[in-house]
């Protein structure tokens, strides 16, 4: 296999494919086949990432760098580490799955739809691999327009409201991120992310940079008081849009916390950690409680996302290795499981044209394969041992108990709520009494649906039973990040009034597979 700049190719191949699609007048079926092919090619192009990634190396890999605007020291610089590698792979792998799950779901303006999907892939890979703040910001914002279109053109009846809300919320948050980037450039003298991660800034500066960044990321995650755009967007978006939103976009927020807030503003992160932990716990419990009361299946999953992302932010802001590993694990697993659940809801919506729980009772009898897979993903979603979500949530909970018992105790009800709402959903869908027998005519999963669900189902079981490989990718990078974090906040820890979690001793990190 020839060597090529993997990350650049992964970013620009979908862009080129989108441009070709834009100019070629193709018939509908060919558009779908073409994009599917582009998706598979993109996945093949990503193979060197898996082949050449050096396990155990905590630093950045696959580094690419080129001068971009010399007057401002802007560089076109890309790299991945253990934190971002899995997100890049997830973004790439979702492209063909999204094309497949929209095969019959999306019927109008096909060309634009598939262009949007391709552009989304470009932007997502770019966000997770950019090593220059301005480049990061460009990809971060570039993803808004295709996502807006996905919701606004192919969405449900209230798509106008949902899409504008999504756009305004996200953009309003990220404008202050731009101010923070400009500030960091002046304080640090560079836009380079790895360089800025090593710098110590004064506390006052850190404070407001943290707040500006945290607002942007908290809206994206979304954390509790900023979450209201999410259910609206999820419910209205077409299933491919929901999948991208849940699996990749939300992760950008938590990735931002991990990549920017903790390394660049360690003191401020420490200072604001109680607030962030409180908001995370609020997200976990509030998201769970609201999910419990939903009758709209898609809304239920959307609120469960709020709760799951609460686990991620909790894992990040308890500042210990287990928590950080768990956070990245939950990011990955939530992407797999929730993406799969949204695909399944899209599949059943095509049959019933409804998202109401009441219209989908007792499907276990008629659609055994569908319910079987749905059950697998639902059970995994609430963290059933042996399936993938359990690994991440367990690590976060271990980290939380290590940090402070009360935090762990407060997070436990969230995990229990997850079981409650997911079991209720699964129970009714599988064994509820149908109000009318109309759904007997629905056919069970067809080959195409099997094709896009099976990879995710295999991952659910594989990561659940053998998380070692994934842990080997994640833990060196998160461990290094947490080590750096503590070495740079040590002077804060010495201050008597601060009650820092007693994790400094556990910095000698045993990676799970080592």
């Amino acid at each position: 296999m020839v060597d090529y700049p993997v990350l650049s190719v992964l970013i620009f191949f979908p862009l080129a494919a989108a441009l070709v699609l834009m100019v070629l007048p193709l018939p509908e079926l060919t558009i779908r086949r073409y994009t599917l092919l582009a998706g598979f090619v993109e996945c093949l192009l990503a193979l060197p990432l898996i082949r050449d990634f050096k396990l155990g190396d905590a630093g950045f890999q696959f580094i690419e760098k080129a001068v971009w605007v010399p007057q401002w020291d802007l560089a076109y610089s890309l790299a991945v580490d253990g934190i971002s590698l899995l997100m890049v792979i997830l973004s790439v792998a979702l492209l063909p799955l999204c094309v497949l799950c929209s095969w019959t779901y999306v019927g109008k303006r096909l060309k634009e739809f598939h262009i949007c999907l391709l552009l989304m892939t470009t932007a997502c890979v770019g966000v997770f691999s950019a090593m220059d703040l301005v480049l990061f910001y460009i990809f971060w914002e570039a993803m808004l327009i295709p996502m807006y279109l996905l919701i606004a053109v192919w969405g449900g009846p209230e798509r106008r409201y949902a899409s504008i809300k999504f756009f305004l919320y996200t953009l309003a948050g990220s404008t202050l991120l731009l101010a923070a980037i400009v500030g960091l450039f002046h304080q640090g003298g560079t836009f380079s992310i790895p360089a800025l991660m090593q710098m110590d800034f004064p506390m006052g500066f850190q404070t407001w940079v943290f707040l500006f960044m945290a607002l942007a990321f908290a809206i994206k995650v979304p954390m509790f008081p900023f979450h209201t755009w999410l259910p609206a967007a999820h419910v209205q978006a077409p299933s491919a849009g929901s999948v991208l939103l849940a699996s990749v976009l939300l992760k950008m927020g938590t990735y931002g916390f991990l990549r920017f807030c903790l390394p660049m503003c360690p003191d401020a992160s420490m200072y604001f950690a109680p607030m962030m932990i409180a908001l995370s716990l609020a997200s976990i419990i509030y998201g769970g409680l609201v999910a419990l009361g939903q009758t709209d299946i898609k809304k239920l999953i959307a609120y469960s996302s709020v709760a799951h992302m609460g686990f991620v932010t909790l894992g990040i802001f308890i500042f210990n290795p287990r928590g950080a590993e768990g956070a990245v694990m939950v990011m990955l697993n939530h992407g797999i499981v929730t993406g799969a659940l949204f695909m399944m809801i899209g599949a059943i919506y095509e049959r019933s044209h409804s998202r109401e729980l009441g219209d989908h009772l007792g499907m276990g009898k008629y659609l055994p394969a569908y319910m079987g897979l749905f059950g697998l993903f639902a059970v995994s979603s609430f963290g059933f041992p042996g399936l993938n979500s359990f690994v991440g949530e367990a690590l976060v909970l271990i980290g939380a108990f290590q940090a402070k018992t009360s935090i762990g105790l407060l997070a436990i009800p969230g995990a229990m709520l997850a079981a409650a709402y997911m079991l209720r959903l699964g129970l009714k869908m599988a064994w509820g009494r149908p109000s009318s027998p109309k759904d007997k005519g629905w056919h069970d999963l067809n080959a195409r649906e099997w094709a896009y669900l099976m990879p995710l189902a295999i991952l659910v079981v594989y990561i659940g039973l053998a998380p070692g490989l994934v842990m080997k990718v994640i833990s060196p990078s998160t461990g290094k990040m947490i080590d750096d974090f503590h070495s740079r906040t040590a002077h804060v820890a010495d201050a008597p009034e601060q009650t820092v979690p007693t994790v400094l001793a556990s910095t000698a990190l045993p990676g799970a597979g080592q």
């Binding site: 605007v69 460009i138 914002e141 327009i145 504008i164 953009l171 731009l178 101010a179």
Partner: protein, 475 residues
Amino acid sequence: MNFDIMLLLPELSLFVLAAALFTVSVTSPGDGAARRAYWLPWASLAVLAVCLGSLNARGVMFHGTYIVDGLSQIFKAAIAAGFLITSLFTPNARGVDDDKRADYLMFLAFSAWGLMLLSSAAELMTLYVAMEISSYSLYAVIPLRAQNKNAAEAGVKYIMFGAMATAVALFGYSYILAGQGTGFVSELAGMDWSFAGNPAAAIGLILFLCGVLFKLALFPFHFWAPDVYQGTGNETAAFAATLPKLGAAAVLVRLAALLAPNLEITFLLALFAAASMTLGNLAALAQKDLKRMLGYSGIAHSGYLVIGLAAGTAEGLGAMSFYAIVYLLMNMACFWVVCHLRCDGKNPVYDDLNGLSKNAPGLALVLAVSAFALVGLPPTAGFMGKLFLLTSAWNHGYAWLVIVAVINTALAIFYYLSLFRHAYTAETGGAVNLRDRNWMGTVAGTVMAAAILVLGALPGGLYRLALEAGTTLLP
């Protein structure tokens, strides 16, 4: 050197073009075909070529009142490009009577010519005269909209405001002359402009700047812009909204040597900038008429431009020049689409955009690119321009201005998004009666959109030119 005809080639070529239009207007009364001046785009293209060819010309003429330097040459090229784009859609301008068409084009050419002189003027009186040349032509053009009383109203408003602003500027000039004893920018640059040191001169400079700020439509001289754009013909508005701003930006960059960041005047300008963008964006939110909305958006963008001035560094001036040129591109592109929306020449509203992406995907794409560039979303040149402006202004005590500017992006997004939303997601729109399009217009639109994207991805080249221009003024 006092006079060198080679240095004046851009001005001369545009002057010849204007004179040719004048000849057409005098010699062929009533002849519709000739008066449409179909040769105009080619001639404007030649002017642009001449401007680009003399991009590296440098020199001082007329006893130091007229400077040909990096700044003036970039702006002359930009003005020529703007005039070329205008010439591509004004010959068929709706609402201009056929027998007035040649005169209309002639006035536009003279206005652009005045702006070219303005970008080279290095003495306050020269500057004033150049400003008047460009303004007087526009005074005549604004009311030229057949059977429309609003155009007359717009014309009166423009003249009244303009005359008052220039009178104030002249008054300020007298104070500057009294306070500092000279009108040459190069000599004025080294002098004391603080209020404590030389109050008469400081007040004089503020008053003189009023004339420039009127052209730029910066708060508090912004009232005319939405009314004039709304009242005048669509094509005229496209011209009046973009080119004079370039001229004003060139003047402000030229005068930047007088405006150190710690001066009261600079602080005042920064306040005006902050007020301008906030007010412009808030008012634009409530508009239904597209041209009126673009008028308010223009007020907001004047505010962004002045950020570069507040920085008081060569980077800031470079960023300001860069943004001015990018603004020309994105605003022209936006107006280009707006002008095509109504074949009856009436003012377009948001609903006219419905279904545009189906009826005219090319127009819709240009609109999308220019709207997102105006917001400052990557990967467009609008983002890069804004990034340069914000970065340059940061560490000179104007961090608050940067924060106001980024918050304004969030305010602005809604109405630009509305443009995009109506064009791409509204489905109720029937077949839109689009104005006739010729291939040259299509090429122009495509080139503008492509330029916005290319400058967004690779801003280095143009910024280097702009930075050189800034460095010669503020080393």
